[in-house]
């Protein structure tokens, strides 16, 4: 627990406040995205993370700025937890040049190489080989970076998943596999897609440490991620966390949700990661309703500012349509 040494200088309460704030920021951002999408200001596919915030925020606590992240198409939470500026993420939602990917990627392709955030990848399982490669590069160079790779339970059915589990274990690569098991691959329930639904067990079959974690409890996620990252960094090879979580909204913006019961959604909402932490803080006397209200208003203001900035930002000129297909010629 080498990192806890730095944490004791901050109060535990302040840290928990920070976790709450980060989760609430993601929630506020995405709530706004729903409105903006409905109004037609944001288009395309937008996959919301609402309900899963504890995973991104918790795992990020265990990573340093030098570590790498490879993400999926449901990555607003990962990007914001990584500290990517609201303006650049919202700009990307609007497809403006102020976006982190100059608007060319949109919701599913947030990139920030300066923060070693190697992209939202919208092919299920497609990011895993990249994470292997990024980790391999670090290993060949002898750096101490850990590569965190996020993917969903759907990816476990892809061949690439198994190729990558094997390769990472075979080559002892410093990868933390973060499987966000939200129980549905789009509309297909886990048990309808997987013969063995214990995903940690399957990862474990490749000879890497793997265990399930309550993905609705940010403190549990943080704890698990810290111990896994520490082990990876110490040369323990790849580790696998199955983060059991749930998305409260549709797969992408809206769907009729024919594939799951409303009651099931309501049941999971009782374990809303934000409510869960807020309640814990309230019980411990670390948070009042007024605090939460103030935090929420402040974050709403920040998101509104990001929206205003995105609206005002310039669009990429059409003359530049084919820019970034190839790297610019060296001058």
């Amino acid at each position: 627990m080498s990192r806890t040494a730095t944490k004791v200088t901050r109060s535990e309460a302040a840290h928990r406040h920070d976790l709450l704030r980060q989760m609430l920021l993601i929630r506020t951002f995405e709530d706004k995205c729903v409105e903006l999408y409905s109004a037609g200001e944001i288009r395309g596919f937008v996959h919301l993370y609402i309900g899963e915030e504890a995973v991104a925020v918790g795992v990020n606590q265990a990573l340093t700025a030098d570590d790498n992240i490879v993400s999926t198409y449901r990555e607003h939470g990962h990007a914001l937890a990584r500290g990517m500026p609201l303006d650049s993420v919202m700009g990307e939602m609007y497809g403006k040049t102020s976006g982190c990917s100059r608007g060319r990627g949109g919701s599913m392709h947030l990139f920030d190489v300066s923060r070693r955030f190697y992209g939202g990848n919208a092919i299920v399982g497609g990011g895993l080989p990249l994470a292997i490669g990024v980790a391999l590069a670090g290993k060949l160079r002898g750096d101490q970076r850990v590569t965190a790779c996020f993917f969903g339970d759907g990816a476990v059915a892809e061949g690439e998943f198994h190729e990558c589990m094997n390769l990472a274990a075979l080559w002892d690569l410093p990868v933390l596999f973060c499987c966000e098991n939200n129980l549905y691959a789009m509309g297909t329930a886990l048990e309808r897609a997987q013969a063995q639904t214990d995903l940690a067990l399957r990862a474990g079959s490749y000879g890497m440490p793997a265990w399930p974690v309550d993905g609705m409890d940010v403190l549990a996620v943080e704890h698990a991620a810290r111990s896994a990252v520490e082990a990876v960094r110490a040369g323990g090879g790849p580790h696998f966390l199955e983060l059991r979580t749930y998305r409260f909204r549709a797969h992408s913006m809206y769907d009729p949700e024919l594939y799951r019961d409303k009651a099931e959604v309501e049941e999971w909402k009782k374990r809303d990661p934000i409510d869960l932490l807020a309640a814990r803080l309230r019980d411990g006397g670390e948070l009042t309703d007024g605090d939460l209200q103030a935090m929420s208003e402040e974050l709403t203001g920040e998101v509104d500012q990001a929206i205003a900035a995105a609206r005002a930002a310039p669009a990429e000129p059409v003359e530049d349509l084919t820019r970034f297909v190839y790297s610019p010629e060296p001058s």
């Binding site: 990139f111 080989p129 590069a137 190839y326």
Partner: protein
């Protein structure tokens, strides 16, 4: 440099020398693929490299094309200069997702943040009686994809010189090595090195007809040109070398001179690279044409095993000669 010593070599050795040079010159370079290390490479291109550079830089991979090609992409994104070998073009389809959805798109969808300086080498083409899952020429498919470069070294010089230049390119480069070329013998200057990867080459200058080809059919096409010469027909032979992007100027300059074209492409005719070349000639050199553009392509059949059928499926010199005669009339 007339005093430069000429050395006997083969295409295989030239390619190996190129990879060795890259590993020596740049410690970001490493090689990975199936059986590239201990086995020495399926086509023995990489034999001896494991001993010389060790298992960290000459990495044998499991049979996981998607994972190791994707790993090459990831490593390139993170600053390395990987060379990934795929055994044959047919197997590359298992990694097509990574090549198309990641290697070719990451630069664009990251708004220019993430380039992918990756070299992927693979064997292509038929001629060795290895039937319908090891013989195809799918490089034309890959030329459809913006974001990557596609090369086809057809000579010893290009086998020796393309790898290094490709590694200097900031974007992904696919190198297609025709399986029938590895044993090609010849001489190279002892100090042969990097070559440009942007232009087509006139392998034989002529005035009466342009024979345009690349890769494995260059030899066939040059043989056809020799036959035509005995008829008094002076054929120009163009080796495309870079299949994407295409060097339009060399092509249209030649057509402006000869007014007649035969395109030779081992790939299937429908939707082929030959079709693309022909279309560009129509777009850019229509007014120079004196006869319809002819194409000699691979027969549209999965490659059969028996030798006589395989040969019948491949572009042959006599077909090129006949097409040239038709065009010149």
């Amino acid at each position: 440099m007339s005093s430069t010593e000429m050395v006997k070599t083969t295409y295989r050795e030239a390619m190996r020398a190129a990879i060795r040079e890259a590993l020596q010159r740049d410690d970001r370079v490493f090689l990975m693929g199936e059986d590239v290390g201990r086995y020495g490479g399926c086509f023995a291109v990489t034999r001896g490299l494991l001993e010389e550079f060790g298992p960290e830089r000459i990495r044998d991979t499991p049979l996981s094309e998607s994972a190791f090609v994707g790993a090459g992409i990831g490593a390139a994104m993170a600053g390395m200069r990987p060379i990934v070998e795929i055994m044959t073009v047919n197997f590359s389809l298992l990694a097509l997702d990574q090549i198309m959805n990641n290697a070719a798109t990451v630069l664009h969808m990251s708004g220019g943040q993430c380039n992918v300086p990756l070299v992927i080498r693979m064997t292509t083409g038929a001629g060795r009686q290895v039937a319908a899952q090891h013989s195809h020429s799918l490089e034309g498919w890959y030329t459809h994809i913006p974001g990557i470069r596609v090369l086809a070294p057809a000579t010893l010089e290009d086998a020796r010189g393309m790898v290094w230049t490709a590694l200097q390119d900031p974007d992904p480069v696919l190198i297609f090595e025709h399986g029938s070329l590895y044993n090609l013998q010849g001489t190279l200057p002892a100090d042969a090195g990097a070559v440009d990867i942007r232009s087509a080459a006139v392998r034989r200058a002529g005035t009466d007809i342009s024979l345009i080809t690349y890769g494995g059919t260059l030899g066939t096409t040059l043989a056809a040109a020799d036959t035509l010469a005995t008829d008094g027909m002076d054929a120009e032979v163009i080796d495309l070398r870079s299949l994407r992007p295409l060097d339009d100027k060399t092509i249209t300059d030649s057509v402006a001179k000869t007014h007649r074209v035969v395109i030779v492409d081992e790939g299937w005719r429908t939707g082929s690279l030959a079709a693309e070349v022909s279309t560009r000639i129509m777009e850019q050199a229509f007014w120079d044409l004196d006869a319809p553009v002819e194409r000699i392509c691979g027969a549209e059949v999965p490659m059969p095993y028996p030798r006589h059928l395989e040969q019948a499926a491949l572009p042959q010199a006599d077909a090129i000669v006949s097409a040239a005669r038709r065009a010149v009339g």
